[in-house]
């Protein structure tokens, strides 16, 4: 039996991914802050074919509550997998006006998930199987004037996941970093962004990535090439660009 714990389950990007898992008949644990939304989502997943669905109140900023959940997960029967969709993205201008916001951005996108995964790592090592999917962002590939605090946090998370992959890979646990470009969700509502992907497409790509054990997955695929170019731009030129 495949078990999936999904952190940030009410996010727009997680929903179609959860449905794909539900159709495959997985056991789901939906973790998030908004219990009402989680309950509705749980009913939906159940009706779409999930074997069992459980909801878990979970706040990435409340690391004191991590340990009991880790204990619970370590007792799971069957294969344990995790997907982390947690993240927040305030406007860069809001952060410029109030740098105290940086703490929350770093917690939500990097240190919170990293702490949780570090607690889970020994559990996964002992099990010797399963998949961890961590959602980063193309914004983490280069610091851009319009979004560099969020980008810095996602970059930190990507580097962390790279190390975790290195550690867990040798124990049979696969870690996949997902780097979406802009996706049509609440987070991007009303923004005009290039190569917007639908969350359904992202879910499809993640499922494919899991199957072929991709290490770093860009979605939509075109972002792999775009970021290759953007990363290659020399800093003296890049610093004058506003992209």
């Amino acid at each position: 039996m495949q078990n999936w714990i999904v952190l940030g389950a009410t996010s727009g990007m997680a929903r179609p991914f959860l449905r794909r898992l539900a159709i495959d008949g997985a056991r789901l644990m939906l973790a998030g802050r908004d219990m009402e939304e989680l309950e509705t989502l749980a009913k939906d997943c159940k009706l779409r074919g999930a074997a069992e669905v459980e909801t878990i109140a979970f706040d990435i900023r409340d690391d004191a509550a991590f340990a009991p959940l880790i204990d619970k997960l370590s007792a799971t029967q069957g294969v344990l997998n995790l997907a982390c969709f947690v993240g927040t993205m305030p406007e860069q201008s809001a952060i410029d006006a109030d740098p105290a916001l940086i703490d929350a951005v770093v917690t939500d996108n990097f240190t919170g998930p990293a702490k949780f995964l570090s607690l889970l790592a020994p559990v996964m090592e002992a099990r010797g199987e399963g998949v961890i999917v961590g959602v980063g962002s193309v914004a983490g590939d280069r610091g851009r004037v319009g979004n560099y605090v969020y980008g810095a946090a996602k970059a930190g998370f990507a580097t962390y996941l790279s190390g975790l992959r290195n550690r867990l890979g040798r124990k049979g646990v696969h870690v996949m970093t997902v780097k979406p470009g802009p996706v049509e969700t609440r987070m991007t509502a009303g923004m005009k962004l290039p190569f917007m992907a639908k969350p359904e497409q992202v879910a499809e790509d993640i499922m494919g990535g899991i199957e072929r054990r991709a290490n770093v997955l860009y979605t939509a695929r075109i972002w792999y090439f775009i970021m290759m170019v953007i990363r290659a731009i020399p800093e003296p030129i890049f610093k004058k660009m506003s992209i």
Binding site: G12, I23, D34, E37, T40, L41, K43, D44, L47, R48, G49, T185, R186, A189, G190, K192
Partner: protein, 430 residues
């Protein structure tokens, strides 16, 4: 509320500019002032447009909420797509009683247009299988149940009684996962109608070659289908139309050649084949954004229904169309039953004809002429498709309009839910 966006209906001929909100949580929706809503914008014209204000995109509310395996009653949020409902429930032995020609249509949209399917002659329209609708009316939740005026004003009611939040559908038992489809060539108009008249199949629809003239005028392929069991090849990966096609993509010679091939595809003696359900119900859904085939200017779909007694008038309309050289391959002829569930529901006992035309002046003139023909034949135009009709003419086709207006005036006294379509056709004033 978000920034202004340009958006269109499926036909892309009419456009609107304005703020579109896409809430995903009920309380975010409740925070908005009363605003008209759209789903997947599969209506062709201006039913999902509001140039005078904002719109709410309901496609984020797409969750299944409850299912009773005893009765087959399924409650879903309004943005749930009918094709997703079928995909999830057919394996469990249940199917939506009525499905329109695209699985991308939302349940809310299916209600607001009281859509019909290829089985309309047996089971009636979509609204006949809805047992409850929950509306958001000026910030308050209101429940409409069959038999009430509010229900009849909501089903087929173009969203004017409030935003549809969720609905309960009575699914139908189905003991199969594919369609057994019998295809027959109908050699001309008379044979085509005769096949439709005598069909006893659960699902019946005719594809009509709108380019055939003379002795072959009205020829086509009649499909009759039943749900069956077995194994068929999975449908291939979907394709996508990546850009607006150039004008000649659907020019007369191309369409004529395509139609000829499509007609000959079915052997002269007919055939019975097994097809995946989605291929039968939603034949064009495999090609994402197929509306872009009509290029930047978009297209119109003309759809009318005329009473059985007006079959001759419909034949004359078909002649007008086939000699115009303007039609596209997408043309459908179907016999309808009498079933309709709302004051403004489209169906009437008779024949319905639906044909796509590229958005060009000659086609618009043709459609206007066809609208006059429809009115003279005692027929009706479909709000889900219309983009060109004259208000007085189309209003005259809906004898229960005043009952609808009365209820809408009660539900939305300030006119907050008006859309471009409602204003263009002046539907809400007496």
């Amino acid at each position: 509320m978000t920034k202004d966006t340009h958006y269109t209906g499926w036909g892309r001929a009419l456009r609107a500019k304005g703020p579109v909100a896409r809430p995903e949580k009920l309380r975010h929706l409740a925070d908005l002032p009363p605003t008209p809503a759209f789903g997947m914008r599969r209506s062709y014209g201006d039913a999902p447009l509001n140039s005078a204000g904002a719109m709410v995109d309901m496609s984020g509310f797409d969750r299944f909420l409850a299912f009773d395996p005893e009765t087959g009653c399924l409650t879903v949020e309004a943005g749930a797509r009918i094709g997703d409902v079928a995909a999830a429930f057919v394996p469990q032995g249940w199917i939506p009683a009525v499905m329109p020609g695209t699985g991308f249509a939302t349940v809310g949209g299916c209600i607001a247009q009281d859509v019909h399917g290829k089985n309309h002659h047996h089971v009636g329209s979509f609204g006949a299988h809805v047992t409850e609708i929950v509306l958001l009316q000026n910030g308050a939740e209101v429940t409409a149940t069959p038999g009430t005026a509010l229900f009849q004003a909501t089903v087929g009611g173009l969203g004017q009684t409030g935003v549809i939040l969720r609905a309960t559908l009575r699914l139908k038992r189905c003991d199969g996962n594919l369609m057994l489809v019998t295809e027959r060539r109908a050699r001309d108009w008379d044979e085509h109608l005769a096949f439709l008249d005598t069909s006893e199949a659960s699902y019946t629809v005719g594809w009509i070659d709108a380019t055939a003239t003379g002795s072959t005028m009205g020829r086509g392929i009649v499909e009759e289908a039943e749900i069956g069991q077995g194994v068929v090849k999975e449908r291939k990966r979907t394709a996508k139309v990546p850009m607006d096609a150039p004008h000649f993509a659907l020019s007369a010679p191309v369409v004529r050649a395509f139609n000829q091939a499509y007609y000959r595809r079915v052997p002269a003696q007919g055939r019975t084949i097994a097809r995946p359900m989605a291929d039968f119900f939603f034949p064009l859904d495999k090609i994402h954004d197929w509306n872009r085939l009509y290029g930047r200017r978009g297209f119109h779909q003309f759809q009318c229904v005329v009473p059985l007694s007006s079959a001759r008038a419909l034949r004359a309309m078909m002649e007008r169309i086939s000699t115009s050289g303007l039609a596209s391959p997408l043309a459908v002829l179907k016999r309808m039953g009498a079933g309709r569930a709302g004051y403004l529901s489209f169906p009437m006992e008779g024949y319905t004809l639906a044909i796509d035309f590229p958005n060009r002046p000659a086609a618009r003139d043709l459609i206007r002429a066809l609208e006059i023909d429809t009115a003279e034949a005692g027929g009706r135009l479909y709000f889900a498709k219309d983009a060109l009709a004259e208000g007085a003419r189309i209003r005259g086709m809906y004898p229960e309009l005043s009952l609808w207006q009365e209820e809408v005036a009660r539900a939305d006294p300030t006119g907050a839910y008006q859309t471009d379509l409602v204003r263009r056709l002046n539907l809400r004033s007496a």
